[in-house]
């Protein structure tokens, strides 16, 4: 029996599945928004604003779900500061969860500041706050939000790999898998939110979604092929294996087919593909988390 089967489950259940789902979207949304903000047309910055808004709301929800999942939620701040010295926990950089907590904090913070700046720049908020989105400061804040976002979207899988649990600790491919799936989900959500408002950006998001889905598919195949046969049998030859297959079919292959044949369902093609990507991303996280929990 593989060594990972001598361990105990941390009982990361539905709170964790939901948090992994939202974290993937929030992190990748910030990264996509930063790309658009820094390298896209100025006219398309309103779409980047949607990305920073998704990242801001998503990181707040992520933090809430993580706190609720703690056995001592009132001690949530111990994730950011050592309770005895009040030093930042990132001093212990080799503890993945400490890095993740800070990445989430920075992701939410930088995304929020950029969002506020861009809203002030375009009207709804006092123009005095527009400096947050202008000049060097605006560029730096957007870049930092993107970096924190891409880190957080991939960190979730690395966190799982840095355990001794069945499946999670048996493969190094979970980080890139959840990152790619996160990018696909964030592209899909932004497509749904900003549909037809900028044809050029919609095309770009469609291509990014298709590329992310292709990478997700490739990584799932590599993961399954390289996994120890005993681990595969004990963890995935059950309902969770079926769930993984459904997630790949529904959330990856069908949307890829729809991207390949964009007129297949008429005007419904794009929203259908986007919704399937989001559902598939959730099912993928369910399969990855709960299969190990059940082992």
């Amino acid at each position: 029996m593989p060594d990972t089967f001598f361990t105990k489950s941390p009982h990361w259940g539905w709170w964790a599945v939901s948090e992994f789902f939202i974290a993937g979207i929030a992190g990748a949304a910030a990264a996509i928004a930063a790309l658009l903000w820094l390298f896209g047309s100025r006219d398309d910055r309103f779409i980047a604003r949607y990305g920073f808004a998704v990242a801001t709301v998503g990181s707040a929800l992520s933090g809430l779900l993580l706190t609720l999942d703690l056995k001592r939620p009132e001690r949530f701040w111990h994730m950011l500061l050592f309770s005895k010295t009040l030093g930042p926990t990132f001093q212990k950089w080799w503890a993945p969860m400490a890095d993740g907590a800070w990445a989430l904090f920075l992701l939410g913070g930088f995304s929020f500041l950029t969002l506020v700046g861009s809203l002030a720049d375009r009207g709804p908020l006092p123009s005095g706050l527009a400096f947050l989105a202008r000049g060097v400061l605006g560029t730096v804040l957007a870049a930092l939000a993107g970096i924190a976002g891409v880190f957080y979207a991939g960190y979730k899988g690395v966190l799982l790999s840095a355990t001794n649990r069945p499946l999670w600790g048996d493969t190094p491919w979970l980080g890139i898998l959840l990152l790619a799936s996160g990018f696909a989900m964030a592209s899909a959500l932004l497509l749904l939110l900003t549909r037809d408002r900028s044809p050029a950006v919609s095309q770009w998001l469609r291509n990014l979604m298709a590329g992310s889905l292709a990478l997700t598919l490739l990584v799932v195949v590599i993961l399954a092929a390289t996994l120890d046969a005993d681990v595969r049998r004990l963890v995935l030859q059950n309902v969770y294996g079926v769930l993984l297959v459904v997630a790949v079919l529904l959330g990856t292959l069908v949307p890829l087919a729809l991207a390949w044949r964009p007129r297949l369902l008429g005007r419904l093609t794009l929203p259908s593909a986007a919704v399937l990507v989001l559902v598939g991303g959730f099912l993928l996280r369910m399969a990855m988390l709960l299969s190990s929990e059940a082992a």
Partner: protein, 276 residues
């Protein structure tokens, strides 16, 4: 600085009396059962079943019988936290709740732990669990409070057969080696030491003399540190981020080139009209 202290558990003389479990619970004031209910495992005379947040010592009854039950044996092993020299739980704990003491043992500070459970997923031996009364992760402290007072841990004190021996690690290793040689001279060729040297997580400060393969006792043969797994996972994740970033940048560049080309076409179309 005191020298590293620990346990040497000689399973060949364990009789499964569970005095160590009782002593541990009594000293550490651990509840008998979750919610006070006493239950029977239904599959073994071992009714405490496993290490947990309220069960810091656990005597395993490994029942090996032939299908016709004509031959059989019970292997007994008093299991406990291994107080690894390279401790996975300590490595991943984000809050600093898990510390290494001056005795080279590993202790969870209950007033710091917030119950994130990273240590549970990281421990390669399945030692740690949440204590339902405190809602924090808990495990053997190697009786840190007793050691500070110069006392022997409760379990070792209570063990009637000296299966659990406590002392300086260097001394325990010598005792373990002598016992192993004695058993092998007596023909017990399956006897072996587990965790006595640096090959397993830099050495276990609670190590064992076993009478069969480690897996038979529920011990992993090659436990690993989480950090060994984080590095390749991070590298792959970074490679994925670069690939997706380049895909996004290439798309934006194409978009800009298309826009410039369209503007150029428009300008050319307008130029003859202006000239005309």
């Amino acid at each position: 600085m005191p020298e590293p202290m620990g346990f040497f558990t000689d399973t060949s003389v364990c009789i499964g009396c569970k005095a160590c479990e009782v002593a541990c619970k009594a000293w550490n004031q651990l509840p008998a059962r979750n919610g006070g209910k006493v239950t029977l495992s239904g599959v073994s005379y071992d009714n405490t079943v496993a290490l947990s947040g309220i069960q810091w010592r656990h005597v395993k009854f490994i029942e090996q019988f032939s299908p016709d039950r004509s031959t059989g044996r019970w292997l007994m092993m008093s299991d406990v936290c291994k107080h690894c020299v390279q401790a996975a739980c300590l490595e991943v704990c984000p809050t600093g709740a898990i510390i290494r003491t001056e005795f080279d043992t590993v202790v969870i500070q209950s007033d710091v732990c917030n119950g994130c459970r990273a240590c549970i997923a990281a421990c390669p031996f399945g030692v740690i669990e949440i204590n339902p009364e405190t809602n924090t992760a808990m495990k053997c402290t190697l009786c840190y409070d007793r050691m500070q007072a110069g006392m022997v841990p409760a379990c070792a004190q209570a063990c009637p057969t000296q299966s659990i021996q406590f002392g300086p690690i260097s001394e325990l290793r010598q005792r373990a080696q002598a016992r192993l040689e004695q058993l092998q001279a007596q023909g017990v060729t399956q006897a072996r030491l587990y965790g006595h040297d640096e090959s397993i997580l830099g050495g276990l400060n609670s190590f064992y003399l076993l009478l069969d393969e480690p897996e038979v006792y529920g011990l992993p043969s090659n436990p690993q540190l989480p950090s060994q797994k984080a590095a390749p996972a991070s590298a792959l994740s970074a490679a994925g981020a670069v690939a997706l970033g380049l895909l996004g940048l290439a798309g934006l560049r194409k978009q800009r080139m298309d826009r410039l080309a369209a503007e150029e076409r428009e300008r050319r179309q307008q130029a003859p009209e202006t000239e005309g």
